[in-house]
């Protein structure tokens, strides 16, 4: 090859390599949604963004129930779908370059048809966390909105009522009820308790928002905020009047709702009614709440049992598992040894002794698990990253059913 040819080839190689390397797939991949059991069915959001369901007993997929259909794609789903008797709510999003589009939709549990006349509620943003429902109000957090770059995130409240089968005059024209801007992305979910929505944001704050439809004129929807040192991605868990949540600085908090509401300006922890404990690693998963302990996993692969009264670690040392804990630990109502099931982003769902943290075994999923395991009637349903919905018997730890969520075939 002549020097000229070599130079041109080199230039093209440089350009091609740079372009190939710099236009890699930055799209979200999803697949973190947990199964949801309702009636005779287990509902699952697939990594490709479809909602499907399988028979809880036989593990067979309902071929007539899927939304959207194969030729329709709304993007990927991270948040676990919200299932009621009549409806399944979900949010999907997709990104091209740095432009994202999210769709929130409601479909019938009967036949998977859209319940909203406009089919879906669209926003130019990311919706990562699961949705929450309060009466007829659907709540969810977003990242920044494409055409409204001033704010980093929003809590949205939209009308959840179905209107697809209603005459034109009775249809809901504007589904948006209200929205609350916040200083950071909301990638975690929203928890609703006693008319208040609790959520964490990447602006390092926990928010309590009044979700009442009748808000006094001039009144702020934000009841109080709690400012921490780390960003929040985990969904806060509310138990009674306490909130349990961990942040990206490795701090785990127990907050008292009433104390916060009484003094909304207070920023520091009150040692009498609240505690915080330092963990090793970022906290993404929401904790599991036991009778005397709170169980928290970190992205560092550590699992802690924190005394619910003091916040001290109940186990002498935290248990180290392989991989990150992204899905939440789940307490199994197993006969015999009380057990904690912890999903690993490397492989399997680890089984730990609830009292000592000792590793008892695992549900051998043969794949990474980012979703929270779900327990029902002696079985555990696990959505693994290799697009399988696997069912394990708690007593024997054996896999009893498995189906590919994409393609509907049985697992090989």
């Amino acid at each position: 090859m002549s020097a000229r040819g070599a130079a041109i080839a080199f230039a093209l190689l440089v350009a091609l390599s740079t372009v190939l390397a710099c236009t890699g797939n930055l799209s979200p991949s999803g697949g973190w949604a947990s199964p949801v059991t309702s009636g005779d069915w287990v509902y699952q959001a697939t990594r490709q963004g479809s909602l499907i369901r399988v028979d809880a007993k036989t593990g067979l997929r309902d071929p007539a129930w899927q939304f959207p259909t194969e030729d329709q794609k709304f993007g990927v789903i991270y948040g676990t779908p919200l299932v009621t008797d009549n409806a399944v709510y979900a949010a999907a999003y997709t990104c091209r370059g740095d432009k994202c589009e999210a769709r929130v939709y409601a479909v019938s549990t009967r036949d998977a048809t859209p319940l909203w006349s406009e089919r879906h509620f669209a926003l130019e943003t990311q919706i990562v966390g699961p949705l929450a429902l309060s009466g007829e109000t659907l709540l969810f957090g977003t990242a920044d909105i494409e055409r409204d770059r001033g704010r980093q995130g929003y809590l949205y409240a939209i009308d959840a009522r179905p209107d697809a089968d209603k005459p034109l005059s009775e249809r809901i024209g504007n589904r948006l009820k209200w929205r609350v801007p916040v200083g950071g992305k909301i990638w975690g979910g929203v928890t609703v308790a006693n008319g208040v929505a609790y959520f964490g944001s990447m602006d390092r704050s926990i928010y309590a928002v009044n979700i009442s439809d009748q808000l006094a004129a001039g009144a702020s929807r934000v009841l109080w905020t709690f400012e921490a040192e780390g960003a929040f991605v985990a969904r806060p868990v509310v138990a009674g009047t306490k909130i349990y949540v961990g942040d990206f600085r490795g701090q785990f908090y127990k907050l008292d709702v009433e104390a916060r509401a009484a003094d909304r300006t207070r920023r520091t922890l009150d040692a009498r009614r609240e505690w915080s404990t330092e963990l090793e690693g970022w906290v993404w998963a929401e904790p599991a709440i036991g009778d005397t302990a709170v169980f928290a996993g970190t992205l560092g692969g550590k699992v802690y049992a924190l005394d619910i009264a003091t916040g001290r670690s109940s186990w002498a040392t935290p248990t180290q598992i392989e991989g990150q804990v992204i899905g939440s630990p789940t307490i199994l109502g197993a006969p015999g040894t009380p057990t904690l099931a912890v999903p690993s982003s490397k492989e399997d769902v680890w089984l730990l002794d609830l009292r000592s943290g000792t590793v008892l075994g695992e549900f051998n999923t043969r794949a990474a698990v980012d979703a929270t395991p779900v327990v029902r009637d002696g079985f555990v349903y696990i959505h693994s990253r290799n697009d399988q919905l696997q069912t394990f018997a708690i007593s024997s730890r054996a896999r009893v059913n498995c189906i590919q969520t994409i393609g509907a075939k049985a697992c090989s």
């Binding site: 002549s2 020097a3 000229r4 130079a7 041109i8 080199f10 230039a11 440089v14 350009a15 390599s17 740079t18 372009v19 390397a21 710099c22 236009t23 890699g24 930055l26 799209s27 979200p28 991949s29 973190w32 991270y78 990104c95 370059g97 740095d98 432009k99 990562v128 770059r149 950071g184 992305k185 990638w187 990447m202 040192e229 780390g230 960003a231 991605v233 990206f248 600085r249 490795g250 690693g281 970022w282 993404w284 992205l299 560092g300 990150q324 992204i326 982003s345």
Partner: protein, 314 residues
């Protein structure tokens, strides 16, 4: 492949992610400043290589008349193997390597690719990206407690694509990338006496900047910022390593090589006296003292050929 992936992660990605994140925290939570300082650090680390490349190119340029003479010598016999071996022997004797000139360019490539990935991993746009960032941090890095790191700089989102930035950044960035790359190419490309090579140089001078300006639309603004500043720094380095008397010549249009003076040939280690003699006769008329800044290399080449032919007849 897995081993290569681990090497890439541990040698390129993790140091880069940790450096940028640390600089971000140290420089007032500003990703733009972090990238600029990172660029300066990388440029300083590559300074010996860059200077070596410059010297190699100078030496290569000085050897061009001799290469030309060799080409003429073996043109009649058509012994390309002999020509190639003698050319390489001459390069070796002079202590220059044709591939050595491309070294910094080769090293820049993984840095560009790594930086592109590092920007998206430091300010991850996807949940899985954020989760994997936890694994990328060194345990001692204080930046890990500051996540998520901001990506705003002068009203731009440095993680966003250049095409999506507000006016005028969306078109200014590609233009600046293209212009800075053109200037950098211009002052670092050594003139060649070979008209074909000169033509190639000219094509490279325009092709790469135009291509990069075009591609820059689809780069994240942070990467475009890095390329822009690394070009500016390289221009500065070139200015610095060029002798003051010759700096004014840097930006003049030129295609062909300057006349090889004794000083220019000096870096070529081990060049024999007889070689020098050959060098100063044969092609001296081709390469004028002003650096041969003709824009018509083909015409010059034709004149050279005619003159040589006359010499041979004598």
């Amino acid at each position: 492949m897995e081993f290569l992936g681990i090497l890439w992660t541990e040698i390129i990605m993790r140091p880069m992610i940790n450096s940028i994140a640390l600089l971000h925290v140290l420089l007032f939570d500003n990703l733009g400043l972090a990238i600029i300082v990172f660029t300066v650090i990388i440029s300083l680390l590559m300074l010996p290589l860059t200077i070596r490349q410059t010297n190699q190119m100078k030496a290569m340029s000085a050897l061009q008349p001799k290469v030309k003479a060799l080409q003429e010598k073996y043109k009649a016999g058509g012994d390309r193997r002999k020509l190639s071996s003698e050319t390489m022997a001459m390069y070796k004797q002079a202590g220059v390597s044709p591939i050595g000139c491309l070294g910094p360019m080769f090293i820049q490539m993984p840095i560009w690719i790594g930086l592109y990935q590092a920007i998206f991993r430091v300010v991850p746009p996807t949940p899985e990206g954020l989760a994997s960032l936890a694994k990328a941090f060194y345990f001692w890095n204080p930046a890990q407690t500051s996540v998520p790191l901001g990506s705003d700089f002068l009203g731009m989102d440095l993680v966003g694509l250049v095409s999506g930035q507000p006016i005028p950044f969306n078109f200014l960035f590609p233009v600046l990338v293209g212009v800075s790359m053109w200037i950098q190419q211009k002052i670092t490309t050594m003139p060649s006496p070979d008209p074909k090579q000169a033509q190639t140089n000219m094509m490279m001078l325009w092709m790469l900047p135009i291509m990069f300006a075009f591609f820059a639309f689809q780069f994240p603004a942070g990467l475009a910022l890095y390329i822009l500043f690394s070009n500016v720094i390289r221009v500065g380095i070139q200015w610095f390593v060029t002798e003051p008397a010759q700096r004014s010549q840097l930006f003049k249009l030129r295609n062909s090589a300057p006349q090889p003076t004794a000083a220019a040939v000096e870096p070529a280690r081990g060049t024999s006296d007889s070689d020098k003699e050959k060098q100063t006769d044969g092609d001296s008329s081709v390469h004028s003292e002003d650096g041969g800044r003709s824009n018509r290399p083909r015409a010059r080449y034709a004149r050279t050929q005619a003159r040589r032919s006359r010499n041979r007849r004598r």
